[in-house]
Structure formats: C-alpha cells, structure tokens
Symmetry: C2
Subunit: 308 residues, 2 copies
C-alpha cells in the first residue's frame, strides 16, 4: 500500500535548556517520513525546498526508502526556516523567527506515479494547500490523516472546517482540541470535534501521552517516562509517521489496529525527543524499535480478572 | 489482614466552577477508609474530631465496615476545618481557610485491638504524628504506605526525611516529587526519592494518571478521561484507599499486584471526583466498581506481538 506524505521539509534552529543548534534539517514531512520508514517501505514525499537544502539530507531520506520524486527543489530560492526556544519545562516554546521562503508559493504537485495512494498523511501546512492535495488526487485514499495547529485555527478556520469533512483522522494537541471545540474537558472536546467530520481523533498530550477517540471508544497511550526530553521538536510528527506507517504496513484500519499504531507512533516520538532534530530517528535498528515498544507494553500492562 | 488507617477526619467547604458547599464531611482518613472499604473489611481508623462532628457521618463509616474505636471525640472542641477554591482548570486551588482545632493537639492513641496490623496507611498529617504512630506499634506492619504534601516539605523536611526511612511506599504528586528531589524529570526524581528510603514510589499526576516506581520497574496507570471533574478534593486519598485496601484484601505485595492496586486506586479516585466530598464513594455497588475497572482495562489494553 503506498503512503503519500505531504508537509514541510525545512531548516530549524533550536534552543533548549540543554543547548542550541545552528540550522539543522527538520520539517513535518521529514519527521513523518523517517518515522514511517521503520514500518513501511513505499513512502512518497511531496514537499518543497530551496537550493540551499543539502543533497546529503535528501539522500539520507532516500536511503530510508523515501521516494523524493515529489520533492521540488527551487533554484535560487531558500528553504523554509523556523527558529524556536523551549522553556525549562519543555512543554512551551517561543518562536524566534519564521522565514517562509519557498513555502510562501508552495504548489503541491503530485507526480503521476504517486496517484492511487491508499494512505495519505497531510502534515501541518496551510489548510488551503492540504485541500489542494486532496483535489489533485484522482482517487480518494482509503485513509486520510490530517495534522494541523492552532495557527490555522486563528487565521483559516473556515478552510480548516471544510477540510475536517474530508479527512478520516485528525491529530492535534490538547490545547488545540480545546480551542477547536470550545470545550475544556477533552472528552467533550472529542465529541464535538468528531461531529465536525473526522471519524477518529488523536489528542496528543506531550509528556502525558495521547488519546485516540472514535464515536464509541477511547484508547490511551502513555508517553514513555524519560530521564530527559532533549528536544521536543518533531515529536508530534514522529508520532504521526509511526502511526500512519504502521497502518499502511499492516493494511488494517480497524480501531484495534489503530491502538497498536498509536503505540508505535508513541515509540517513534519517544526516540525523536532524545536528540536534536532528526538525529535519533535517522538510523534506528529494528531490535531497538522492538525493545522500545516492549517498554510501552511493560509500562501499562496489568492483569486483572473481574469475577463478575 | 487488618488495615490501620490514620489521618484527618474533617469538615471541608469547597468552591469549584460548578458550585460551592457549606461544611461537608471530608478529611484524608475519611476518603481513605471509604475507598478501602470496597475491597477490605477490617479497617481500623485512628483520628480525632470535635463534638461538632455529626454522629451520622461516623455511623456511615461504620456501616461501610470501618472500626471507629480509635476515633477520638473531643468534648467542647471543634473538628479540623479546611476551605478551598478550585481554579477553572481544576488542577490548582487556593486555600481560603484552615482551622486546626482538635488537630493542633492530636495525640494518635492506638487501641490495643489495633495492634499487630499488617497494613498501615499513614494519611497526610504532620510527620511527627506519623512517626508517633510507628513508634507506638508493637510490631512493624508488613507494609507501610505514607502520604504527605509540600507543606511538610517546607516546614518539617528533616522529620519527613527520617520518616521516609521507615516506610515502604510513598505517595506524592508530581510537583511534590520535583520539590522533594530537586529534579524536574520524574524518572530522575523517582530514582532520588527511592534512594531516600521507600522501596516503592507512587507519583500522582491528577488528570494525567499515576506512576508506580520501584528500583527496576515503572508502571503507568491513566486517569479515566471524564466529561467533568466536579470536585477533586479527596481524589488522592481515594486513590490511596483503593490501593492499600486492595493490597490488604489480596495479601500480596508483589510489584505485579501493586500494579493492580494502582488501577483499583485510580478507579476509586475517578468516582470520588464526580461529586462533592465523599458523596460518590459512600455507597457504590460492586457491579459499579467492576464496570469502572473494566473501563480502565479497555482504555489501555492493546495487543502487540513482537516477532523478534
């Protein structure tokens, strides 16, 4: 089953209490593709960079099985750049700089060979661009997962609402779920958001784990208690990549299998935060991934037999 | 196995975004004893009230199987009173009034019939009083669980440190774990706190669940996602009561059984917050408790078979 990933491929400059980086490779689609690559091998990327983007970074993605035919390289233009500083608690951050560059005029061209994909991950981008991708697919994918953020709720809410009617799964964080629904309780927020279109909702709570809802069921996956969260950048995208990569690999979109996908996504997020940028998720071993998933199993597994 | 519970029996006056109460029955030992009573039937209470405390409330506890021989009733004195107001997020609160009354001179007398208890729950009280209880037991219980709070870390840290060497399990919340250890990461905090004495540590994270640590293992139990948290007062004590009540009933203090006890404790906490004070946990049915535990099972249960 082919998986189409659309989102930013970017430069980030990050400050955390543990240190700071110069420009390093980042972007939603980068994290999503890399995380998905541990589960699925047919990943088709649509994104845009400038000619300042390093060929080695593209080769690194290709080595992980990511098809970059749909990655536009704009000559004479610059790659999208984001810079941010995390606070001591690592749960909040300030944006220091945003330079849209190539992203300002991004036209998401879908190569012919990418058509008829069965799984689509719409990484965080302007809802208008996410709409365009859906418009340009000759056939609706079997599963469409949308990631978005509070920024688009503030400036493009109508486009976001119409987009919600076109997707199957929405992933947002707890504050965004509260903003989108106007409800403080996440249970009530989930009910409202599911009535806006998506059949499934994933609420990401950072170090407090993630909740998966459909109309009747709820599943909770914890975050792994880590000694240090070194750099949270890309954690949500790594989660999404592990989630959709696992679903695409198993070709099973039942709620039971989505639970497993949430665990694999959580495992990828837990790796991602251990080093700056994509460093940790560029080159994991299979045994390492399995051992991490086993940690999640051990963390929440208990055995209660109710008599009644 | 007899279970000895020591802590406050009190009046609370509570304001939440959903309403406010006049003086209602509260106190750590009240919540602990009631929650434990759903699992264990030999609960011996040590506490103190004034002659203003209603006989019906004592009878209500007795009906739930709580032995109140060790509940001192001070004639001409008043019961401990606490009043607080919860903020909109229900995670933080202001204390509006504290009247120690009978608590100021509380001398925890242990009735002879309470001696040789196998399980001891030291509910939140001055560490000096908690020391006294241990001093007065002829035989060390098989399992001693200690609850405390930041207030005692601020004004009685040395006594608390010496107390930590005398207990098996410590229950505190995440902010208290950070204060006691000086570590932000809860994993690092747990390592430091376990080196202070207790063999087990439970870190309560409110709506974000609870973590159980020993030197080698960690277990996570979620909080149930609720539509509304109506009144968080007593949630931690209800958790502790369910936890130690289940352990006392099963007579099994292995890590595996403590995991189950954490789930039963979480279930009792989830009931407790649904109404003001002890109202919800005074009269639960067995089927209701089982159904709630089943919700926890459904919430976190997944099935992953790793091939490697």
């Amino acid at each position: 089953m082919s998986l189409l990933v659309i989102g930013t491929v970017a430069f980030d400059a990050i400050e955390t209490p543990f240190g700071k980086t110069d420009k390093i490779v980042g972007g939603a689609a980068t994290f999503i593709s890399l995380a998905a690559s541990y589960f699925h091998k047919k990943i088709n990327l649509v994104s845009v960079v400038g000619d300042d983007f390093p060929a080695e970074a593209i080769q690194m993605m290709q080595k992980r099985g990511v098809n970059t035919e749909g990655l536009q390289i704009k000559q004479g233009e610059k790659t999208f750049f984001w810079s941010g500083r995390y606070h001591n608690d690592m749960n909040s951050r300030d944006t220091l700089d945003t330079q849209l560059n190539v992203l300002a005029t991004f036209d998401p061209v879908i190569p012919d060979s990418y058509q008829h994909c069965e799984f689509l991950m719409l990484g965080n981008l302007a809802p208008s661009v996410q709409h365009q991708v859906l418009d340009r697919l000759e056939q609706r994918p079997r599963l469409v997962v949308l990631d978005t953020m509070n920024f688009w709720m503030n400036i493009a809410l109508d486009e976001l609402h119409s987009l919600l009617k076109r997707v199957d799964v929405l992933t947002i964080n707890d504050e965004e779920a509260r903003q989108l629904s106007g409800e403080y309780s996440l249970v009530k927020a989930a009910q409202k958001i599911l009535s806006m279109g998506p059949k499934y909702l994933i609420i990401k709570k950072g170090e407090h784990g993630a909740l998966l809802f459909n109309a009747e069921q709820v599943f909770f996956a914890p975050a792994l208690p880590l000694e240090e969260v070194f750099d949270p950048t890309g954690a949500g995208d790594s989660f999404a990549g592990g989630f959709i990569g696992y679903l695409a690999a198993t070709e099973d979109i039942s709620f039971e299998n989505m639970k497993r996908a949430v665990i694999f996504g959580s495992a990828m997020a837990s790796f991602s935060v251990e080093k700056f940028g994509t460093e940790r998720i560029q080159n994991l071993g299979e045994a390492e991934v399995d051992a991490r998933v086993q940690q999640f199993i051990d963390l929440v597994q208990f055995d209660i037999s109710l008599v009644n």
